[in-house]
Chain length 243, copies 2
């Protein structure tokens, strides 16, 4: 059998993997991934062969996985969070066009929107938009248009990749777009190192979020017009009628 | 200890639960939920006490959970998919204001956007919006505005609750809004009974989706302008630059 599983390992804690993900990692021969994610799972699957590539080597990482699968190895390509949300599930199919003999299966995982929301309370209970602020592969104009549209239509919003050294002011810019449509008092939350050592979270207003510096390990949540704080937790009501 | 865990059990298959969710259900005294979801987990946790309420009895279900927790029982309130996406995580905090002695913890799970995407390929790899077409608690004008905004800003879109007996034409209406901004050739997918017996999926165009009838057990995916079909799977590229 020539097979690659693309496995979402969740936020980082072993216990936040699905049973299915654990079984796949137990049954495979080779685990391929970005160095940081491989280090997160290594101790639990010590008898496996591990292959890593650094950031920005994603195509090479996929090719590595297919070359192993071609040899008859059962390969698990791991992604943090969910394989299908800013993960490797798409690229593996694209690279896989050159390897028609290899079967691909996607194993979903808990993405940061869900794990981060569970730390803060229930910010994404109703309609929401997920947007990455990284303009590495997406023009900033497209990101800006999406942030504006999502704010105007009163979505709750979850922002991935809110910051990096080169993009220190991107979150501030995104907040400024949102402030054109959302109240400065809109309830927001940030979670850092979700499910990992040093997890921390904070509830704040959109105006305060604008003036807050976050790092690349942070996921940002912006409520909709109905979002409120209940006992220190962020709660977006399910609907617009009081039940 | 007075404690309620709100647990997302994923799409339905036991293996798609997280290890954390399984441990919580194993360690609790009482499992509370909507009848259908309780039936999905019952066989795996046979020694627990089960309490169920039918649909539209969500507030009562929460009160039931708090009354049990108040007595000192460890309670798990289960939701299908993720507890924080159209789930019970929000309402439990609201009802919990009357029970300050009870601690609440949210255990995230695989929501249908993620599990359905993994069946279809990788439709949600890049920015996406999640919208429910149910107007039970949300005015249709708000839903319409969100569908239009998400389409105009070229989000991939995942639709929950696309249909019901009373709302047979809602998906068609939503497609008509999207067709104002998205090409009729936009790649779409539908998945029915995700992770359960009778799972089935189909890849189709937005124009074809418009004229397709789906039921309430179906989750619908609409690609962005870059979404394509690779080896029968839906793939949204990670970015807008060819790598």
């Amino acid at each position: 059998m020539n097979k690659i599983y693309v496995v979402g390992i969740g936020p980082g804690a072993y216990e936040q993997m699905t049973i299915q993900a654990v079984k796949v990692l137990e049954s495979c021969d080779v685990i391929v991934g970005y160095t940081v994610y491989v280090d997160l799972v290594k101790e639990h699957f010590a008898d496996k062969e591990f292959l890593t590539t650094p950031m920005k080597q994603e195509v090479k990482r996929c090719e590595l996985a297919f070359e192993e699968a071609k040899k008859g190895q059962i390969v698990a390509m791991i992604c943090s969070g969910d394989a299908g949300v800013y993960g490797m599930a798409g690229l593996i199919y694209e690279v896989g066009e050159a390897y028609p003999e290899v079967e691909v299966e996607i194993i979903p995982g808990i993405t940061a929107a869900l794990s981060g929301a569970s730390v803060l309370g229930a910010p994404l209970i109703h309609d929401f938009a997920v947007i990455s602020l990284s303009d590495l592969l997406t023009p900033w104009e497209k990101i800006e248009a999406r942030v504006r549209s999502a704010a105007e239509a009163d979505f709750s919003i979850c922002l991935y990749n809110p910051s990096s050294k080169k993009r220190a002011d991107y979150l501030m810019k995104a907040c400024d777009y949102m402030l054109e449509y959302k109240s400065p008092e809109t309830i927001c939350g940030i979670v850092r190192n979700i499910g990992r050592e040093g997890e921390e979270s904070e509830v704040l207003t959109l105006q305060q979020l604008r003036d807050t510096t976050v790092d690349m390990f942070t996921t940002v949540f912006i409520g909709n017009s109905q979002t409120k704080v209940v006992a220190g937790k962020i709660v977006t009501p399910r609907g617009y009628t009081v039940e």
